[in-house]
């Protein structure tokens, strides 16, 4: 089911890539958009709070004042508050479903999933208390339905729905409670959101400026075109028979008319418990985590900087070496992506004088093996368009790629590929070109693999690909699962370019593979 879901998402995202481009694709920015909507809700909420009066009639009147007399500011703020809250629910639900479909919750990644689930309760509770505060007929319905539902729990001696029997028994203090809850719940939510991203290095909490601008303009236009309005004032002597529900927050309410309230509680609590347990149902396969080889670790901290899950810390040296620090892997955070090995300057295939054992690597997929696989894959290549394809294990099937006549080498994440391997392949003439593929651009399974790889090749991030390497012999296509045809087309075009290069350029000897990448790391 998950594969189907993932394929479904990727097909939809293909469409959004066409509309938005990979950089702005909202599906790759769901969490960041959630944060963005949250801040809109908070800022607009602070403005509304300045003018909001707590009281049975005052609450409604103060919102009417904002909506009609101050429509240009308060009215728009009120609408932004509502629509951003609705958009937050949409983003949150798609984010949850997508992370499930993409299998990004198992093993060490349980933490973000587990801390994300309680947010559902906080977001829905905060939204419902917000509607309650307006004290119009919808609020009346929500207040009565919610308290009746709460009364099905064996917690309250006296039915709390009795507070809403008539206007004469309704207390103004109830609005004070609602205001308190409506402020406290989002603050708790913020706290959990902060915890939610604690295990992510460079968490994406801000969408790209263009996407943020687009979504904000959308909310603004909607706020002007269809402002959020109150219904008629609440009147407890009359039943609000027909209500215009905000379905993003109140979908559960109609169910309460058909299913006993206690059953709905049991369903919700069970669903929440199951969601919380999803990472362990069944437990995912745990691959061996990265190991540090202190003999080759000079404490440069590149692995710690590049680790997408904050699994590596730099600690004082424990082996008496002259270097100040050493990398230490927290096994409970490590996702076995191998990006640390790709960042390690000692992971260079040019090393000849000693065994190829970098400062950090995955024990089950060592860098030495990557070099052997590269050499083996290149051995059977012929012609003047020989290509080594480096791919990640979360995208296209390697066998399918090998069917194109290219030499294929895969690894957990493309970020595991040290850039010196590209230099190695081209300078040793193992192939005429190197083609990189993996997850979709902007949506790396291990979060930052593609980003770091692009930056390393562009010479913007350590370890950099050396300047001498001809960039025209490097191609990439971030395919994901579903863009098979595009991948094969891009690969064929790349090979054609290599053929053209071969025919247009006299054969040159590559410059000697020397200097930095060849240098052995020696230790005191």
């Amino acid at each position: 089911m998950k594969k189907l879901l993932r394929a479904g998402f990727e097909h939809i995202e293909d469409g959004f890539d066409v509309l938005f481009g990979p950089k702005w694709n909202p599906f790759y920015q769901l969490g960041a958009l959630g944060w963005f909507y949250y801040w809109i809700v908070i800022i607009s909420g602070i403005y509304l709070y300045i003018f909001f009066d707590t009281g049975i009639t005052e609450a409604y009147q103060s919102l009417d004042y904002l909506t009609y007399e101050q429509w240009y500011a308060g009215g728009i703020m009120r609408s932004l508050h509502r629509y951003a809250s609705d958009a937050l629910v949409i983003m949150m639900m798609i984010h949850l479903l997508r992370e499930f479909a993409m299998d990004r919750f198992r093993s060490s990644r349980w933490f973000a999933w587990f801390t994300g689930v309680p947010m559902l309760w906080f977001v829905f509770s905060a939204g419902i208390t917000g509607y309650w505060m307006v004290w119009d007929t919808l609020a009346q319905y929500i207040a009565i339905a919610t308290t009746e539902w709460l009364d099905t729990l064996p917690l309250f001696g006296e039915a709390i729905a009795r507070n809403f029997l008539s206007d004469t028994t309704l207390s103004g203090r109830f609005f004070t409670l609602m205001v308190f809850l409506h402020i406290a719940l989002p603050l708790f939510l913020l706290f959990i959101m902060w915890i939610h991203i604690q295990r992510h290095a460079s968490p994406r909490v801000n969408p790209p400026l263009e996407l943020a601008a687009g979504t904000f303009i959308m909310l603004l236009v909607l706020s002007i075109a269809k402002p959020a309005l109150s219904n008629a004032p609440a009147d407890l002597a009359t039943v609000p028979a027909v209500v215009g529900l905000d379905w993003f927050y109140m979908s559960i309410y109609p169910l309460l008319d058909y299913v006993p309230g206690l059953t709905v509680w049991i369903l919700l609590v069970t669903a929440t418990a199951l969601l919380l347990l999803v990472p362990w149902l069944p437990p995912g396969q745990r691959n061996p985590v990265a190991v540090v080889n202190l003999d080759n670790c000079n404490g440069c901290s590149r692995c710690a900087t590049d680790c997408p899950f904050s699994a590596i810390t730099m600690e004082p040296r424990s082996d008496g070496s002259a270097y100040e620090h050493e990398a230490v892997v927290d096994a409970s955070h490590c996702t076995s992506c191998g990006i640390c090995a790709g960042a390690c300057p000692t992971a260079t295939p040019f090393r000849r004088r000693s065994d190829l054992s970098p400062g950090i690597e995955l024990p089950d997929q060592p860098i030495k093996e990557l070099r052997e696989k590269t050499i083996t894959a290149s051995a059977r290549l012929i012609g003047n368009d020989r290509v080594i394809v480096y791919g990640c294990q979360n995208s296209l099937n390697p066998e399918e790629m090998a069917g194109t006549g290219a030499g294929v080498v895969t690894m957990p994440c493309i970020g595991m590929l040290p850039p010196s391997f590209i230099d190695f392949v081209l300078s040793k003439k193992l192939a005429d070109g190197v083609f990189l593929t993996g997850c979709r651009a902007g949506d790396c399974y291990f979060r930052l693999g593609i980003k770091w790889t692009d930056a390393r090749i562009a010479g913007e991030r350590d370890p950099r690909l050396r300047q001498r390497v001809g960039r025209e012999r490097i191609g990439n296509f971030w395919a994901g699962l579903t863009r098979r045809k595009d991948f094969f087309r891009e690969l064929a075009a790349f090979r054609m370019r290599l053929k053209n290069l071969a025919s247009s350029q006299p054969e040159k000897q590559p410059p000697p593979a020397a200097s930095e990448n060849d240098r052995e790391i020696t230790h005191a």
Binding site: D86, A159, R162, L165, A241, F248
Partner: protein
Amino acid sequence: MPELRYIVGQVIAFTLFAIGLGYFSNSPTYTHHDPEMALIKLSFSHASQHKEECRRLSPEEIAALAPNMRRPMDCPRERVPVLVEMTMDGNTLLRKSYAPTGLAHDGAASAYEKIPVTPGQHKLTVRLRDSNRDEGFDYEDGININLVPLQQFVIDFRNSSFQFY
């Protein structure tokens, strides 16, 4: 400079998103009560009489108690259930017993009932029993009302008498 097609793409996608957002934020409407009907709500929170009378303890029984818990009377805390009967124009709308709350069944009995009724002129009678008696009721009251559609008519029981509003 962003490509024009991406800007056009954003406009199309955000327009559709805004339409969905604007529509489902208060539509379609939901009817949770028949607009042709009125509603009677019967609700109270009432502590009934104790199930058993207080009993004076014998000197031997008092002596058997821990020194700090000695008392002359033994008063069982458990209360009797509250029985309520409501009739409209002679027809029974509700007859139900409400157990006292609390682990020791010593709290108030709480009721909260919603009964949709046809609008019009009606005679409502409510009776309540909160004692150990087997027959009859301890409280009874009635009212002639003219209910209109969507009217919510509340019957409460406070300070040993029925309240209608």
